[in-house]
Amino acid sequence: MATSGNNSINAKLVLLGDMGAGKSSLVFRFVKGQFLEFQESTIGAAFFSQTLALNDATVKFEIWDTAGQERYHSLAPMYYRGAAAAIIVYDITSTESFERAKKWVQELQKQGNPNMVTALAGNKADLEDKRKVALEAKNCGAPVQEAHTYAEENGLFFKETSAKTATNVNEIFHEIAKRLPRAQPAQHPAGVVLTDRAAEHSRTSACCT
C-alpha cells in the first residue's frame, strides 16, 4: 500500500516479468543510473529503495526486483501482495516474454490489489531491428502482437523502455508516482504484523535507504 504523512508517500513497487526481459536492468538504471551489458540472473528478489520528488509529494519507492524464473512463481504473491504499484516487463524482441507478461497481468487482475497502479514496460526498445512485438495492430495476415492496444484494453499504462539508453526509465517511475493515490491513512507495509515493532520500523525507515 502507499502510505503517506505530510507530502511523503511510501510505495511498495514490484517488477514482474519473464527472465531476461530486463527487470534488474530497469531498476539498476533507475536507482543507480547505470547499465551492465551482462546483468546476472536475479535469484529470489532484490530490494531497493529510491526516492522521487514530485511537485506535490515525495515518493519513496520500495522496489522488489523479482526473479523471472519459474521455480519462484509460487512465491510471487508474497512480493505483489499489498503493492501499490507494479511494472510488468517484457522484451520487445521476444513474443514469449510478451505472452508471459499477459499472464502476469491476468494474475494481478485476479489476485493483486485492485487499486494497484500497473504499468506495462516493453523493454529493450533500442533493439528495434530485432523487434517481434508491435505497438499497434497491423493489417497484414500474420498474427501480430499489439502491445499498446493490449495495455489500453486492460487499464495499464504503457511505455517502451530501454534500460541501456535510459529511454523512458525515469518517465515510467515518474508516471507511476503521479498516479499513486495521495493522503492514504498510514498502514503497516505488507508483512510486518508484529505490533511492538511498528514504532521501531517507522523510525528506521526514515533514516536508512
Binding site: E70, R71, H73, S74, S94, T95, E96, K132
Partner: protein
C-alpha cells in the same frame, strides 16, 4: 529464430529386427559413427534437433533391439516416452502383424497416463525393394490398421526416400506441441509457522 523454449522429446523406435530401424535412424540423424550398444544393453541412442513452426525440438531417439532378452528392460527404457514409432518391413507380413504386439507391449510397460491417446507413428519401410514387387503389405491394409488404432499417422519410406522419415518426425513434433501441458506452478512444501510442522502442498506441483 525460435523464441520459445526448446522441447525435449523421448522417442522409442520399435519393430522386429531386420525391418531396417537402425539404417533409417542413422540415415536420418546423419551420425558420423554409429553406436554399438544394441547387442549389449538393448538400444542405441541418437540425438536429433528439428524445428517445427517456431519451436525447436531435441529428439532423444531410443533405437531398441528387437530381441526378447531385452524385453524386461521395457519399463525402464520406455519410461517418460513422448512418442513411439513402430516400424515394419512392407515385404515381410510377420513384421506387420507384430506391430499389434509391439504396440500393446509398449502400452503395458510404459503405462502412460492416457493410453488411448498416446502418440504413435507407423513407418512402412523398404518400399523400394525389388521395385515394389516383393511387397506383401499393401498401403491400404496398413492405413486401415492405423486408423483402427486411433488414427495413427502412417508414413512409407525407404533407404532412398528418407524424406518421409523427416515428415514422420515433424508429425511427432506437431502432436507433441498439441499435447504440450500448460505450465504448472512448482509448489514445494512450506513449513508451518506456528508449530514447525510441514504443510504438504495439496494442489499439484509443477509437473
Amino acid at each position: 529464430m525460435a523464441s520459445r523454449r526448446r522441447m525435449l522429446l523421448k522417442v522409442i523406435i520399435l519393430g522386429d529386427s531386420g525391418v531396417g530401424k537402425t539404417s533409417l535412424m542413422n540415415q536420418y540423424v546423419n551420425k558420423k559413427f554409429s553406436n554399438q550398444y544394441k547387442a549389449t544393453i538393448g538400444a542405441d541412442f541418437l540425438t536429433k534437433e528439428i524445428q517445427f513452426e517456431d519451436r525447436l525440438f531435441t529428439l532423444q531417439i531410443w533405437d531398441t533391439a528387437g530381441q526378447e532378452r531385452f524385453q524386461s528392460l521395457g519399463v525402464a527404457f520406455y519410461r517418460g516416452a513422448d512418442c513411439c514409432v513402430l516400424v515394419y518391413d512392407v515385404n515381410v507380413m510377420k513384421s506387420f502383424e507384430n506391430l499389434n504386439n509391439w504396440r500393446e507391449e509398449f502400452l503395458i510397460q510404459a503405462s502412460p497416463s492416457d493410453p488411448e491417446n498416446f502418440p504413435f507413428v507407423v513407418l512402412g519401410n523398404k518400399i523400394d525393394i525389388d521395385n515394389g514387387n516383393s511387397r506383401v503389405v499393401s498401403e491400404k491394409k496398413a492405413r486401415a490398421w492405423c486408423a483402427s488404432k486411433g488414427n495413427i499417422p502412417y508414413f512409407e519410406t525407404s533407404a532412398k526416400e528418407g524424406f518421409n522419415v523427416e515428415a514422420a518426425f515433424q508429425c511427432i513434433a506437431k502432436i507433441a506441441l498439441k499435447n504440450e501441458p500448460e505450465d504448472e506452478i512448482y509448489l514445494p512444501d512450506t513449513i508451518d509457522v506456528a508449530g514447525n510442522r510441514q504443510h504438504r502442498s495439496s494442489s499439484g506441483c509443477g509437473c
